[in-house]
Subunit: 454 residues, 2 copies
Amino acid sequence: MSSTTSRRGFVKSAALAGLGLSILPSGIVFSKNKDRKARLGFIGVGLRGQHHLQLALQRDDVEVLAICDVQQRMIDMSKDLIKKSGKRMPLVIMEGPYGYRRLLENKDIDAVIISTPWKWHAEMCIDSMNAKKYVGCEVMVGTTVEECWQVVHAAERTGMPLMMLENVCYRRDVMAVLNMVRQNLFGEIVHVQGGYQHDLREVKFNDGKQPYGGGVEFGEGAFSEAQWRTQHSVHRDGDLYPTHGIGPVAMMIDINRGNRFTELVSYSSKARGLHDFIVKRGGENHPNAKVKFKLGDVVTTMLKCANGETALLQHDTNLPRPYSLGFRVQGTEGLWMDINNGIYLEGKSKKPHEWDNAQEWLDKYDHPLWKKYGNDASGAGHGGMDWFVMHAFVEAVKRKIPTPQDVYDAVTWSVITPLSESSIHLGGETVEFPDFTQGKWMHRKNEFALNDDY
Amino acid sequence: MSSTTSRRGFVKSAALAGLGLSILPSGIVFSKNKDRKARLGFIGVGLRGQHHLQLALQRDDVEVLAICDVQQRMIDMSKDLIKKSGKRMPLVIMEGPYGYRRLLENKDIDAVIISTPWKWHAEMCIDSMNAKKYVGCEVMVGTTVEECWQVVHAAERTGMPLMMLENVCYRRDVMAVLNMVRQNLFGEIVHVQGGYQHDLREVKFNDGKQPYGGGVEFGEGAFSEAQWRTQHSVHRDGDLYPTHGIGPVAMMIDINRGNRFTELVSYSSKARGLHDFIVKRGGENHPNAKVKFKLGDVVTTMLKCANGETALLQHDTNLPRPYSLGFRVQGTEGLWMDINNGIYLEGKSKKPHEWDNAQEWLDKYDHPLWKKYGNDASGAGHGGMDWFVMHAFVEAVKRKIPTPQDVYDAVTWSVITPLSESSIHLGGETVEFPDFTQGKWMHRKNEFALNDDY
């Protein structure tokens, strides 16, 4: 080996070590070119997919090459969006549930955005990686432990990056708190909380025409998510939607990057809310009043971490309640909670033993990404965070670099659902948390949102 | 049996059945006389005991017949209080740790108030019941499962009522919410939360002169609670102080009265706060900086109930944080949380999916006891609730009736500590919750604070 080669090899390794990329996506060729466009295909253009589609159409650095879906109504709505955008009409595929495979045959497509019912995610992710596409997948990427492993194996085998589009990691307050955590404002983190506490009754039931409410139908007689999501509440008892709650706090305690979840236990309350809703809105003689829902109204999950932190997650989607993700980030110097918009920092808060209004701190520690892109994001969905998650994915695709949330994050956050089901099924037993990184967590570095780039 | 006797027997049973007294204190003679005085003895007149003593001295319906303690400083402070009150100086006993047994020999004493270190509670409760005294005991009544059973057996054997002085059951907002629960405002209760989240670092450490802070001593070199309470943080990992969090919500879901806790699991975070505090305030060379504290900074516990509710408890006393008991009471129609002072009731709150300021609801449903006695209580400790717990105990003693919180409540709330220790010790195993009522929970009725009497 010539000294030049050696030197080049050293520079490359050192640079990568600096990035903490202890594993590298091997399927992509690295590029410094930020100017080329990301050429996307959309698998699933239901309401959520259309939302992503719209964000993509607004960007100058994205070309939409293909869309596919199984329903004419969704295809028509998407075509309208594309027409209104003035962009070129892409290839439109409606060839049944496996029509997406034809989309994957298109060699010009760099990346796919998957927004389909949960049960399709793993298979579609794996097929897409096999076709050498970057994958941006809606939460979650697998519904069983086995599926999560299959996704990991596919990512490792193909070397293709997979990013679960966990938008809450980009919520403005969450990113400010991440910034504060990194600047050690909370001291050593000891305990975190999150959850999904959202009255979904009008998402789980509708009249078959409108997406939200208006009736108590689900399954075939319903529209949009109620067509498929509600079945999970009939058949499964567990934390069915953990990723919005766990993703943001997992990033703060370096999960899969020097830390990992080691075990988990869940308890589930009685199930009353969905049946009550059907009876209230549809009457006790409505056929759906006979359905037995397995999902407890409030599912609580505790997790433990290799570095000694505890995490608490709550899932609460069947009862009347205001929306709250219930975040709490607590360390040796103080804590943040979102429910009361409070921050307390010892020696820094205005008064001892009293909450400061969190907003002052959140403004002061506004994340560089939000400072730079806050205006672009405003108007995008979910308070702007959808813009950021799309931005991060597109930047990774354009530059051919790893995505800031990777396959290990995706499966770690997703697997909480089947693990919580097991724990509940076993009567509240603590179950082991799989190490999807297979030891790599000990060496990986946390690179999520380190600067104002993506 | 003559028909008269039979009739009288029937009337008595029916009346008692109406009261739901499926077990009756057999050691006391029932009385309708509300006018006689309650004659009290005080076992332990440290700072907490003195607080109770003061409340007792303020009442016209109480005579203090004896006090005892093991420390001259506490005796002197108590004598000052008594002198200032203008009441007669009681018998004063300072004869070592078992001096209280001489107090119990006094036949004129109806009832004792026990405010001593935790490890003494069970033994003192049992001795007091054996001496035919009503027992009002500070939280908690036993530190092991076995001790809790011994307390139950003593109560059942002697027929003497025991009330753990769980004051938070009488907090004004808690009682208003209890009132709302009973009027079905929240619908069927599905999930409850509570806890003890209180920065106790200046309780656990002081300078040996003042009760709170000023130094990092504990044990023999410290004063007041730091003399003994801190040892529990050295040697035990569990929810060390569950009763303020669980008592109020247990009453709302009829625990031991048609419902019971069936199982429990606890996770404990790493322990950092107490060591950090010693180093911050005393320097890293202070001898106490070498102490290894076993108590995790945040201990989280989940419980399940026979009727399908879940409960969540948090214990968080080692870190800088504002005080919060973290209550949440959630049913099929809505929920209350204290951290954000919010109530949401479907179809009744001002706006869908938005919190009402809880205060409007709490005012509207102010409990009859607070309406009647709020003025008397104002100025008493802990926002008035200490007045109510003393009032309830004294009324029961005067009338020779069962106490509104009984021995089963006391042990059920106390036993969470040793159960959570077991669960953590076993690596997060769900452990069985003992049924201290031995089946009586199925028939007992909830009579706590049903009206404006006591």
